[in-house]
Amino acid sequence: MPKDKSGRTLEQEIMLIDRVCAGETHLFYELISPYERQVYVAAFSTLQNEADAEEVAQEALLKAFSHLSGFRRESKFSTWLIQITINEARMKRRKDRKALYESLDKQNTDEEGDYIPKDFADWREIPSESLERTELKQALQRALASLDGKYREVFILRDIEDLSIAETAQALGITEASVKTRLLRARLQMRDALAPGYDGAWSLGENQWKKVRPW
């Protein structure tokens, strides 16, 4: 039987939803707790700021509570939560746009031309212990921040939060074809943003990034 991140089954989740809808509001946190990180990350993917992401995550979950009886059960509960969160985050961004986010949000370019990889350095080896390293985390955050919003959202939902292409499309309100196009751009850009770091600037002691450049 398929289980969600908390180890409960779909039936158990539906039962929880029914009980919350029937008035047992104290169960709401239990219902959403397996997804609180995903909700936060979804908000962060749009807002790029911890405090704003937390505020929006809370607002989104309150909104989810008040609309819970309207949840159509053909989609996954987690996808529904993420969809609400993305909408809340976009609303907040629109509200704040004039001040903070103007420079981050370069969504005016709608055409999605081909993206040519910039760097052909070969960095095939990745030691798992390096994942612990703060500097790697920071490099990832920087690389993500360098993406345009529409690419970053797709990349985070699909490749970090592991939503399917269909779920990503649903959460963002775009077509699956758009998800694929944006994903391609986002992945290649992420690679270009990260490869130079691996290729020298913060190479890890004994770890030998192969510095092979074909030209």
């Binding site: 936060y40 979950l61 309150l62 790697l136 985390k137 990832l140 694929k180 992945r187």
Partner: protein
Amino acid sequence: MPIIEISCYHVWREISNYIDGEIDPELRRRMEEHFKGCEHCSAVLDGTQNVLRLVGDGRTFELPAGFSDRLKKRLEKDLGG
């Protein structure tokens, strides 16, 4: 059946779909052939897969300290649960 060669340009356009298994078997075969003979494209493929391995381990984003407690308090306050 002979494998028709494809260009690097074509490979880059499909590389993400290739990783996701979202291409037909014929194109997959052509791309695999291309990767065998093209160092640039196989470097791009490996690098892209590395990115996905790096970010997919769930540790890129952690909840801010105290997030769950603050959320619970907010829910208690607003839902009266």
